[in-house]
Symmetry: C2
Subunit: 319 residues, 2 copies
Amino acid sequence: MATYINPLIVQRADPYIYKHTDGYYYFTASVPAYDRIEIRRAHTLAGLAHAAPRTIWHKHQTGAMSQLIWAPEIHYLAGKWYIYFAAAATTAFDTNGMFQHRMFCLECSGDSMQEADWQERGQIKTPLDTFALDATCFEHAGELYYVWAQKDPQIKGNSNLYIAQMSNPWTLKTKPVMLSKPELSWETRIFWVNEGPAVIHHGDKFFLTYSASATDENYCMGMLQISDQANLLDANQWQKGQQPVFQSDLAHQQYGPGHNSFTVAEDDQTDILVYHCRDYTDIQGDPLYDPNRHTKVQPFTWDATGQPDFGKPVPYNYQ
Amino acid sequence: MATYINPLIVQRADPYIYKHTDGYYYFTASVPAYDRIEIRRAHTLAGLAHAAPRTIWHKHQTGAMSQLIWAPEIHYLAGKWYIYFAAAATTAFDTNGMFQHRMFCLECSGDSMQEADWQERGQIKTPLDTFALDATCFEHAGELYYVWAQKDPQIKGNSNLYIAQMSNPWTLKTKPVMLSKPELSWETRIFWVNEGPAVIHHGDKFFLTYSASATDENYCMGMLQISDQANLLDANQWQKGQQPVFQSDLAHQQYGPGHNSFTVAEDDQTDILVYHCRDYTDIQGDPLYDPNRHTKVQPFTWDATGQPDFGKPVPYNYQ
């Protein structure tokens, strides 16, 4: 099985890697200054550590997209590139005590590495006008599905997970359906959080991983799953795992692994878990501005019953 | 000869690499936010691309060390660690139309990777109270020499190069002697600049490289040299090369190579040139806040007359 040097990319949190039909791996993630969206690409995962980034979008001076640019993802849908990202108008909290992010969409029908080729498609509006972040999407049976995290003032905690179908990459077609809320012990450590959803299809199922609890050593990954023959908008059809599927390994100083995405190895067969974690917990000052959440990648396998085995966060192995 | 994947480290300008007796390469450089000093270390140069950084000093909220933290260098002198860095009280220009940096020193007699083990030794004062930056140091014949760039209001341009002896790592013992000022065509493109000095000893000579002109594709490296038997404080003993020794390679999109340092390969014999450059010139907004000056490393050789041959900036070679 392929091995990689970890951490793969230092100081990039909320990592997202997509292997495109042009043979490139495209990488984007939160930039520590939270002031822009950048893309890098390489023909190998290892190459992403050295690939020269391009900034393809800068935050606005004022307004809804002017602060705390978080967790971009890049998708290729029906021949065009799209980026989903969270942005806020202010770093202040709202009346719910939450950051004030909403989700936004960029579109590119030209060269995805050129800022001039990207245009804004605006906010992705949901019925609730609350803190929203970490959107992802996937296609199934001719429909585009949008999955994201959002605050409901009626539910304790920072955010829950929702799904809806889309009529185009920046417009919902159906009502949001809540798939999970923070409720289990490992989802409610310090903060009650469900966020960072990522979807992978294997066998005859969809698996939806997500991140839970505070973003320190308590941060960990949970998982939902559903038959691909089921109605994906029926929350009752999704099964929620009662235990985390990936968590800190204190013995190897791997703290708070999460906010994952999925990609595939150079062999186009081996599944790869992409995530960030820290290698220390004694943070000086505001953890939000401590840049040392590093991107890691590691292969994972599926057991005889068709369930993923993510193992533990691998130790650092650079020389 | 060793080859390395380039760029070695993305988004780190003004790179400095020191191979210590503990077998580690220590790396520090300007952080794009200019708000801190960080160190990473690894047993190989390639490992530095993946090495987890530690922030060992944060800028102050106000005062002389509160803005634009630039170009740190880490040195090991008489059993203690030292970092030289430039900092300013403001991002505004002074009456000379220059940034307002001065040079400062940190000292560590404990664990160099731990912020708590570093203490401030204050400003390195020079007779001229003007824009100063990019200091380095070296030891020779029982003396510690300090070499830096500084503005003289009587001389056209941003900064000249100076040398002095030190009584301790943060105090000058002798008067500054000017070794070079921007005067040649390739030192005066857009801006008149001599900065970023780096010193290497080879054969019976010291070689002092530096960077010249504006920090775009015009940025390039010049070189001075002197016999190690000469009085290093005698400016007339230094010979200034009339041509740049390293410059942009437009054919390979390697723009503005410079602000170099020197280290040695894993074989402890091959000399390595460490520098930054960009791979594009069409910068959006203020170049100071465009983070894509990347750290590169490449071996270099010495010719039969004892002169270095730095070649050209190698093309990027990541896959």
